[in-house]
Subunit: 418 residues, 2 copies
């Protein structure tokens, strides 16, 4: 007998997370023997807690297809960590109440590290709380820091965006450097892992071409070495372009730029490494500088998404449903690289218990010995991930992004305040 | 008898300034009766002063064509204001020395406001210093602040980039706002004119859709009104997206964010309005915020250039040569809008004396009465300028941008230090 499915987007959204949603929904529609309706949580898991469910069966096939070219989270996402019984909360019990009311037997959770842990806990509900459910995690994170999978859906598109942006900015700075800006700094995302910073390095393909310096969170900050390298680079090439991670930290692990506020998971909210570095360059080296902070622009840039990333984002959504209808609980589809040149990949499966709360940092041999750039090995890894273009349709000069109707499902349980 | 031409890029480069270079060079190649070789100045006008000329005839037709899809300044640009005799300098005399040595009879100067003034002065050399030359200004500035012309080549592409980026960031913030960032600020360029800020407003096409607030340099900064509007917007729509000009200033004309350093023209170097606003929002309203500073990314983003802008950039380069071979001195080709719907334009001609040092700000009726958004009249103006896509070719996941050989012309005069 078919049971309904619950799908939720969790954590920071990406340019292609909706492609995973399309993968889940389109594939579920092909498995009517197992899956009835797909209900999406409005604002992620909060939608389940507050019984604010969206009936995706009310969306046309064309609109679901249009999710392929629409960034952000079409159903709303959330940074929200479920409170377990041990913390005095009863949120898992509440989930079961809602799932039972709507006959939900499948749980698809589309997120990163923290979400994998939530999904793992939900997958154990049948054991721990006696409610039968199959939970599959759909990987997504621009940070590229999930283990086991070769890459994380969402990362390839950010990588393509930051590499393209850096390449363009470098052409700008290079052509102006004689009389104007000598040092340019682009700050990119990456709290603990330097994958996005590494991707800016793809813009440098021959000697002297920027970016000349990459600052990874994996390499402890060293002001003296940094300033010496900037000075040397400007003297040698006339300018210096820098890709810097927001998560830059000193040897003691203290972030260079803590704004003081923390997110729902208790992580420090970062931002502002670029202006800090720019000030340093200006005051210590007396070099004219400019800086950019890409912030959300980088993870929302569907207009320059990677085709490889888009395909993989759809594929993990599709695979999640296929695994679930086979009854595989507590797993996550992964990307398995079978060849780099030519690039070939297939879908694999990881146990969620091996994924949750494990953070994949850059291998040391992806970073040059001096700590300031990426190695050829890293390029070989990154290159295929940004391959191919998948421009969205345009209308009136702007990308044509879909907005779903997001029709709510009639509530069956009482009010609940998370 | 054919004489040679000098072409230089001046001031901040754009995503499409090289398309103007292509227009000049390709058109000159078709007028061999009048124009011999086109020599480009390496690093703009400095290339003329130091006799560092580039022989563009050494570049293949394919490479010149590839300039159409390459951002930055292919020959190098410069922020450099020529010193006239009145300032004790002899730079105009030096120009004549170099022009004479290389039989240069045409001067094409590709720049904005300050450059128009330089070009005007060069155009008067025949009168003032007795050297026969025809000088034509090729308009270019992302600031869109040149008078007479309907728009400035370079602006449409920045407009398309910032509108697209804002639209994408809005989808991101909107989907996360319930549990995360409530206020997002995108800082864009525009020292004194709010044209680029206005363009971010194109992303908002229905009630409640961000950006909700635009901060123009034309509207004096009012902290209280700003905070009240942010608060109101978050309460009403759950989030607030803001497009802010780097040139935001108070009623006395003081920039909110002066970094203290000045450029070669004596203008204050700006940057950092977004983090300042974000801090204000955080401390006064206690709302979680994020901010982005697009900086050079916006004016180098050839990957999302406007087709209309690209076409116009080429057209002004072409027209400049056609005007010059007709002997029209001291002029600038302009864009004349003949219809908005459907969009139609043609090339016109302005006298340089009417252009130089005149700054076109946003008309007051392009800004809503409350000062926080653009009017329908402004949308009607902006809309056609971002129309059409002109993606560059891609290779290995990144745009394929050309690097010219830039072969130097043999020097004929003695050394000169500007």
């Amino acid at each position: 007998m078919a049971r309904n499915a619950f799908y939720a987007q969790s954590g920071g959204v990406t340019a292609v997370i909706n492609a995973s949603a399309a993968g889940v929904i389109e594939t579920a529609r092909k498995h009517k023997k197992h899956i009835g309706k797909v209900y999406a949580g409005r604002n992620g898991i909060l939608g389940a807690l507050t019984e604010d469910l969206i009936d995706t069966s009310r969306e046309s096939a064309a609109n679901i297809r249009a999710l392929m070219s629409t960034p952000g989270g079409a159903f709303g996402s959330a940074r929200y960590k479920l409170k377990g019984v041990e913390k005095g909360g009863h949120e898992y019990e509440r989930l079961i109440e809602v799932f039972r009311a709507h006959d939900i037997g499948y749980f698809f959770y589309n997120g990163g590290n923290d979400s994998a842990d939530t999904c793992l806990k939900v997958s154990r509900i049948s054991e721990t709380l006696g409610y039968p459910i199959v939970a599959v995690h759909v990987p997504k994170t621009v940070d590229n820091d999930l283990p086991i999978t070769d890459t994380c859906p969402g990362f390839g598109s950010v990588a393509k965006y930051v590499a393209t942006s850096m390449m363009e900015a470098v052409l700008d700075v290079e052509s102006m450097a004689r009389t104007s800006t000598k040092v340019f700094i682009l700050e990119v995302m990456g709290r603990h892992a330097g994958w996005i910073t590494a991707a800016t390095g793809l813009a440098s393909r021959r000697a002297g071409e920027g970016p000349h310096i990459l600052l990874f969170p994996e390499v402890p900050w060293n002001e003296e070495a940094f300033l010496a390298r900037v000075d040397e680079t400007v003297k040698k090439y006339g300018y210096c372009a820098i890709g810097a991670s927001e998560g830059l930290q000193d040897a003691s692990g203290r972030f260079l730029s803590e704004s003081g506020s923390k997110d729902a998971f208790g992580h420090a909210q970062l931002g502002g490494v670029a202006p800090m570095l720019a000030n340093l360059v200006q005051s210590k080296l007396r070099l004219k500088q400019h800086w950019a902070v890409a912030d959300y622009l980088q993870r929302a840039a569907r207009h320059i998404a990677s085709k490889a990333d888009l395909d993989q984002s759809y594929a993990v959504g599709k695979a999640a449903v296929e695994l679930a209808v086979k009854g595989m609980n507590s797993v996550m589809p992964t990307i398995v690289r079978t060849s780099s040149r030519p690039y070939r990949w297939k879908i694999g499966v990881a146990k969620l218990s091996d994924v949750a709360n494990v953070e994949k940092k850059m291998p040391r041999d992806f970073i040059t010995p001096d700590g300031f750039h990426i190695t050829q090995k890293c390029r070989n890894y990154l290159q295929p991930l940004i391959a191919g273009e998948a421009f969205p349709p345009f209308e009136g000069g702007l990308p044509k992004y879909v907005r779903l109707k997001n029709v709510p499902v009639r509530k069956k349980t009482g009010e609940y305040r998370p």
